[in-house]
C-alpha cells in the first residue's frame, strides 16, 4: 500500500478509468494543457488528447450542460468545477437536467455524470471563493453527493462514481489536495452509500465529513488523553443519501452527539442529522445534540476574522466538554 497525496489519488482514478473505457472523458477549466489547478488531471491531456481531456471556456453552465447531454448517450464525463462557488452557475443543469432526467423520462435516459468541485475556506480567498455548499446539493432528488476525507476515499469514491449510472457530485476541499494517505495498490471501489467509523468509542459520537473528520479525530485524541472521554468518530462520506442506519447504530451506542461541519448551520448537514436522529432513535439520546459550525457570515478576507468564522478541533472539544458538563 503506497502513501500518496490526495490529488494523486484522484489523478490515478481518472487514469485507470480512462484507459479502461474510451467513453470516459474529463473536462473543466485549465485541466488539460495546464494540468489542473489542483493537479488532479496531471498528464492526462498528453496521454488521452484534447478530444477526451477538454480544456473548457469559463462557462460553467454551458460545459456542465454539455457534459450532461453527452452522458445521455453513454459517455461518462468527469467535470471539474474549479471552485464550488462557481457551481452555482452550473446548478440549473445539474439539478434540472442531470438529477431529473431519469425520473421525468420514466427511466429511459440516464445521466452517468461526475461533477467534482473544490470547496471550503482555504487561505483568505474571500467571500466568493470560500463557500461550502454541500447542503445545497444534498437536498436534490436524483443526485448522489459524496465527499472524501482522505486519499483512499478520494480514489475509491471517484472510481465508483464513474461506474455509477447516477449523477454524482463529489465535494472536495481546497486544503486537502496535498494530504498524504495510504491507497491500496490494487483497484478499489469505495461504496457510494454508507459511512465509515474512523475511530471507535463509547461515550460520544462525533459526526464529521470531509475536513471536519480530521477535526473530530484530533478532538477525540485530546478528549481521550486529557479528559478520559472515549469519542467515536463517524465519517459521513456519503451526504446523499445519508446513512440512516449508521447514524442510528452509533447514537444507540454512545447516546451523545456532536456534529462538526465547516458550513454555516441553517438548513445544513447538522440539521439533517439531528432530524434523522429524532426520527430513528430519539429515546437513545442522553443529551441534546450539539452542532459545531461556521459563523453565518460571508467569508471575511482578514485572517483573524476568517479564523474566527471557521470552527476547528478545539471547538469540537469544547462542544463535547459542554455536553458532559465539564465546561
Amino acid at each position: 500500500m503506497a502513501q500518496i497525496m490526495l490529488w494523486e489519488a484522484i489523478q490515478r482514478a481518472h487514469d485507470e478509468e480512462m484507459s479502461r473505457d474510451p467513453l470516459v472523458i474529463c473536462m473543466g477549466e485549465d485541466i488539460g494543457v495546464a494540468g489542473g489547478t489542483y493537479k488532479a488531471t496531471k498528464g492526462l491531456y498528453e496521454k488521452y488528447g484534447p478530444l477526451r481531456v477538454m480544456d473548457t471556456p469559463i462557462s460553467e453552465g454551458g460545459f456542465t450542460g454539455l457534459a450532461i447531454g453527452a452522458s445521455f448517450l453513454g459517455v461518462r464525463p468527469i467535470v471539474e468545477i474549479m471552485s464550488v462557488n462557481f457551481a452555482w452557475l452550473a446548478m440549473d443543469q445539474m439539478f434540472n437536467s442531470a438529477a431529473k432526467i431519469r425520473y421525468m423520462s420514466g427511466g429511459q435516459i440516464e445521466a452517468p455524470c461526475v461533477f467534482r468541485s473544490a470547496g471550503g475556506a482555504a487561505h483568505q480567498l474571500g467571500a466568493q471563493h470560500s463557500a461550502r455548499m454541500e447542503k445545497v446539493f444534498m437536498g436534490v432528488a436524483g443526485l448522489r453527493v459524496v465527499t472524501p476525507s482522505n486519499p483512499k476515499q478520494a480514489y475509491g469514491l471517484l472510481k465508483s462514481a464513474i461506474r455509477s449510472n447516477d449523477p454524482v457530485f463529489i465535494n472536495e476541499h481546497e486544503l486537502m489536495y496535498n494530504m498524504k494517505g495510504e491507497v491500496p495498490d490494487s483497484e478499489y471501489f469505495h461504496p457510494l452509500e454508507g459511512s465509515d467509523i474512523a475511530r471507535s468509542g463509547t461515550d460520544v459520537t462525533l459526526f464529521g465529513y470531509n475536513i471536519s473528520v480530521h477535526w473530530c479525530l484530533k478532538a477525540a485524541e485530546i478528549l481521550d488523553k486529557q479528559y478520559g472521554i472515549s469519542a467515536e468518530v463517524v465519517d459521513l462520506y456519503s451526504l446523499a443519501p445519508l446513512d440512516r442506519a449508521g447514524i442510528k447504530q452509533s447514537v444507540s451506542k454512545t447516546h451523545r452527539v456532536v456534529i462538526a461541519e465547516e458550513d454555516e448551520a441553517p438548513v445544513g448537514v447538522g440539521s439533517e442529522i439531528i432530524a434523522i436522529i429524532n426520527e430513528e432513535c430519539f429515546f437513545e439520546l442522553d443529551a441534546a445534540p450539539v452542532r459545531v459550525h461556521s459563523a453565518l457570515v460571508p467569508q471575511p478576507y482578514n485572517h483573524t476574522l476568517e479564523k474566527a468564522a471557521i470552527p476547528d478541533h478545539e471547538d469540537v472539544v469544547k462542544a463535547v466538554l459542554k455536553l458532559f458538563g465539564k465546561a
Binding site: P57, G62, G69, A70, F72, Q93, S97, M104, S105, E110
Partner: protein, 333 residues
C-alpha cells in the same frame, strides 16, 4: 421533396394539427393537467427540417412545445397522448407530462421546461456522436426567446470551437410567453446573433414547407459533412397562446388572422391540388380519417390505460438503487 413525400408529409401535418387540437379539448375537459403548449401554426418547421434529416436516427431535443417533435421522430401518438393523461403507458410512464415527452428508442431526447436549457445538452449529444464516430447529427429546436439566455452564447461558442455536429433550429414565433420579440430582444433576426461565433446561418419563411425543406437540406448536409454547427432561423407563428393559461391579450386578432392566411397545411394542400396530386375531397376525407384515428385509437388508448401505481412513486429516481451495483452496497475496505 418528391410529390409522394409531400402527400405523406401533408398527412403527417394534419395529424399533428388535429392531435394538438384534440389536446386542447382534453385540457378543457380536465383530462390533461399542468401546462400545455400547443404547436398549431408551426408545423412546417418541425416537418420541413426533419424531412431533410433522418427521423429516428438523428438525435432531436427541444423545449416544452414538444409533442409534434416527438411524434415526427417516431413516437407513437397513443403513448404521447397517454403521457398527457398521466398514464403508466405514457411515453415517460406518466412521470413527465406534456413538457417532458421522451422516446430514447427513436432518439427523441426530450422536451425540457427551462427556456434555453436544451442548448448545452444538444451540444453534449453532438459531443457524444463525435466521440463515438457516428454520422448522426444533433438537432436542437428552440424558440427565439431562448436565445436571451446565457447558455445560448456559451453553447454556440463551444459548438463552434469544437466543431460539434449540431444543428440549431430557431423557431422564431415572435413571442416569448407574452412579450413580443421587439419588446424583449435588441435584434429581431436571430441568425445575426450567431455570426459573432463564426457559425453559418440562414433565415427563411417557416410557414412554407418547401422553403423550410430547401434551407434545412443545406443546413443538415453542412452539419453531417463534419463542418461543425449550423443555425437555421424559421419565421413562424403559433396560433394558440404560449400555454393554455394565455388569453393572447398582448397581440391583435388582426395579426393572428394575417398569419392564418399563410397556414402551412393549407399552403401545402393547395399546392398539391394545383399540381393535380390531390383533390379537396381527398383532403377532407383524410381529415376525417385522422380524426377517427385520434378518437378511436389515440384517445381510447389514453382513456383506458392504467394510472401509475403509488407504490412506484420513487421508482426511477436513482439508477443504481434498482440495479444494486456492488460498489454501492459493499462495505468500505
Amino acid at each position: 421533396m418528391k410529390i409522394e413525400d409531400k402527400k405523406r408529409v401533408l398527412r403527417e401535418m394534419v395529424l399533428h394539427r388535429r392531435f394538438e387540437e384534440r389536446c386542447y379539448q382534453a385540457y378543457i375537459e380536465r383530462k390533461i393537467g399542468g401546462f400545455l403548449h400547443l404547436y398549431p401554426g408551426q408545423e412546417a418547421c418541425c416537418n420541413g427540417v426533419m424531412e431533410a434529416a433522418r427521423p429516428g436516427q438523428d438525435y432531436v431535443i427541444t423545449g416544452y412545445r414538444d409533442h409534434v417533435h416527438a411524434i415526427k421522430c417516431g413516437a407513437d401518438p397513443k403513448e404521447v397522448m397517454a403521457e398527457l393523461y398521466g398514464k403508466e403507458t405514457g411515453s415517460s410512464k406518466g412521470r413527465g407530462g406534456s413538457m417532458h415527452i421522451f422516446d430514447a428508442a427513436h432518439h427523441f431526447m426530450g422536451g425540457y421546461a427551462l427556456v434555453g436549457g436544451p442548448f448545452p445538452l444538444a451540444a453534449g449529444i453532438a459531443k457524444a456522436i463525435q466521440l463515438k464516430g457516428g454520422d448522426e447529427i444533433a438537432i436542437c429546436f428552440l424558440g427565439d426567446a431562448a436565445n436571451n439566455q446565457g447558455v445560448f452564447h456559451e453553447t454556440l461558442n463551444m459548438a463552434a470551437l469544437w466543431k460539434l455536429p449540431v444543428l440549431f433550429v430557431c423557431e422564431n414565433n415572435l413571442y416569448g410567453i407574452g412579450t413580443s420579440i421587439e419588446r424583449s430582444t435588441a435584434v429581431i433576426h436571430q441568425h445575426k446573433r450567431v455570426a459573432a461565433y463564426n457559425i453559418p446561418s440562414a433565415e427563411c419563411d417557416g410557414q412554407d414547407i418547401d422553403i423550410v425543406y430547401q434551407h434545412a437540406r443545406t443546413a443538415v448536409d453542412h452539419v453531417r459533412a463534419g463542418n461543425g454547427p449550423y443555425f437555421l432561423e424559421l419565421m413562424t407563428y403559433r396560433y394558440r397562446g404560449h400555454s393554455m393559461s394565455d388569453s393572447r391579450g398582448y397581440r391583435s386578432r388582426e395579426e393572428e388572422e394575417e398569419w392564418k392566411q399563410r397556414d402551412p397545411i393549407f399552403m401545402l394542400r393547395d399546392r398539391l391540388i394545383t399540381a393535380d396530386a390531390l383533390t379537396l375531397a381527398d383532403f377532407e376525407a383524410m381529415e376525417k380519417e385522422i380524426d377517427a384515428y385520434i378518437e378511436n385509437e389515440v384517445i381510447k388508448f389514453a382513456e383506458e390505460s392504467p394510472e401509475p401505481r403509488v407504490e412506484d412513486l420513487e421508482k426511477y429516481v436513482l439508477a443504481d438503487r434498482e440495479s444494486q451495483q456492488p460498489w454501492l452496497t459493499g462495505k468500505a475496505a
